[in-house]
Symmetry: C2
């Protein structure tokens, strides 16, 4: 049931979606829930905590729920292999099972944050998207791994632990077309532009920016990707007190297609529930047609 | 003496500059001055005010001075044609003469904001760059004209008055390679990425964001362009009290290659003087090599 988009399907979509937005006709407004979870070193506790948070979001009316990056596992080298699951073997994956059950029993779409995935002897930082029938709709493997070395500030090398994904992920859900990125993926405007070109109306970025880059850029990146592409950007982070090797920024946020912050949080464990109204996209794109104002002839000269 | 970059020179530059930054060896640190001017309906007064402001910036140590968008002319339809000058006829252009004289007498580089240019029966929103010898080094005509119609918020159609430029502008100065954009040009990440690819270390955007889009996006756009491309972004705006058809946001700003605000202003007439240190670019690009982390194979798939 792996349904992550392939290159050929993206090409096809780009042709079809450039002018016409692909949205189910029966939905223009709905609520999204962002579950900012506190992650511990006990996987079962993380699963239970996430399950409760999904329920809380649904009770507030959410039809789309987003979990954080690396929410079933502390964000530290020593845990990734131990906590990793093989999603091909669904019955042996408690994380897969819980997300599938939660999506199905609540009848919602879940962008399942990210967890360590074990596949063919590699580890990936992977996000699974489930539909209201409980089926896996897409799987995104983090494309851009976070390798940074700023003396006196922060050093981290994610590529020491994980292999990188090699495909963008666009998924049609019952609440519209969504593009998926994980954390450092948000630093690359090209990926967001690709999602916009293929008709995405929301980009979901589970992420775990640290305090240093978080304070500086987490909000700027979200708002720029939303404003440049005139779509919704939803981010979901673990909370500050989570286990792992660095302090997390938090601040899970929904940004609208003008680059405006619709809802956000502090750094504590919480659920952000806010409304997505697709008519804002039409209004913004009609009033300020950035896509038509672009001068590809000049950029490519 | 028109020296604005042509497509062929850009291609040439892209080949040469992709790995090796093109900077005069004798400068790594210098001061920039951003002259946030109050614009009146008297051109001579605007010229005198700009001249004084350039002098003030130089007295604070600036070797590169940036003026605002549309600083010799109120930002209103009724003034553009009347205030426009033909830069091909240098002797009949008081704006050209003043900027040339100021650059030469102070021995500095001036990014001359923008003014209405009359050429071949068209009006352009144009920025002239002068070197320390007083010679015109480049001319940028605003590429993306600001056409917006958001009901209940703001309506403006710049393309009713101006023709659009059709070339990016990259200019080698005595303080390094600079890319030029004017105001709405900042909304297009593709232009900034082109400047980064061609070796620019600073992008200067004279701009006049209004209060509505200014409060929402002026800072976000500057910081995203700087952080995404790991270079300096300098913006210069008229002050709030300027003549013209809409209220101006102000907030002329220098942003560094991590997306950090180095210096900024409020909305009043002022001169912002701050230091540009190119070693920050090397540090940032070495520690977080975004350019190498990009996955063009995926974006183009």
């Amino acid at each position: 049931m792996m349904a992550s988009s392939t290159s050929s399907s993206i090409e096809h979509t780009m042709l079809a979606a450039s002018e016409q937005l692909q949205v189910p006709s029966n939905i223009t407004k709905f609520k999204i829930g962002l579950c900012q979870l506190s992650v511990t070193s006990e996987k079962n506790q993380n699963l239970a905590c996430a399950r409760n948070s999904i329920k809380a979001a649904v009770e507030c009316g959410a039809r789309l729920v987003v979990l954080p990056e690396m929410w079933n596992c502390p964000y530290s080298n020593g845990y990734f292999a131990k906590f990793a699951e093989d999603f091909e073997n669904e019955d042996a994956s408690p994380t897969f099972s819980m997300l599938s059950e939660a999506a199905c029993s609540h009848g919602i779409t879940i962008v399942g944050g990210s967890v360590p995935e074990s596949s063919d002897g590699q580890l990936y930082n992977t996000s699974c998207v489930f539909g209201p029938d409980g089926k896996l709709k897409a799987k995104h493997r983090k494309i851009h791994l976070f390798d940074i070395e700023i003396p006196g500030d922060i050093t981290f090398k994610e590529s020491d632990f994980f292999a990188a994904g090699d495909k963008p992920t666009i998924v049609d859900t019952d609440v519209g077309r969504i593009g998926i990125g994980i954390c450092h993926d948000i630093r690359f405007p090209e990926l967001a532009a690709l999602y916009r070109a293929t008709g995405a109306r929301i980009i979901c970025y589970p992420g775990a920016f640290n305090i240093s880059t978080g304070e500086l850029l987490w909000e700027v990146m979200q708002r720029a990707r939303a404003a440049d592409n005139q779509l919704f950007v939803a981010t979901c982070s673990p909370s500050r007190g989570s286990s792992g090797s660095y302090a997390i920024w938090g601040h899970s946020t929904l940004v609208g297609p003008s680059g405006e912050i619709i809802a956000t949080s502090g750094h504590e464990e919480t659920v952000v529930v806010a409304e997505i109204d697709y008519s804002k996209i039409e209004l913004q794109r009609k009033g300020l047609p950035l896509d038509k104002q672009k001068r590809a002839d000049i950029y490519l000269s």
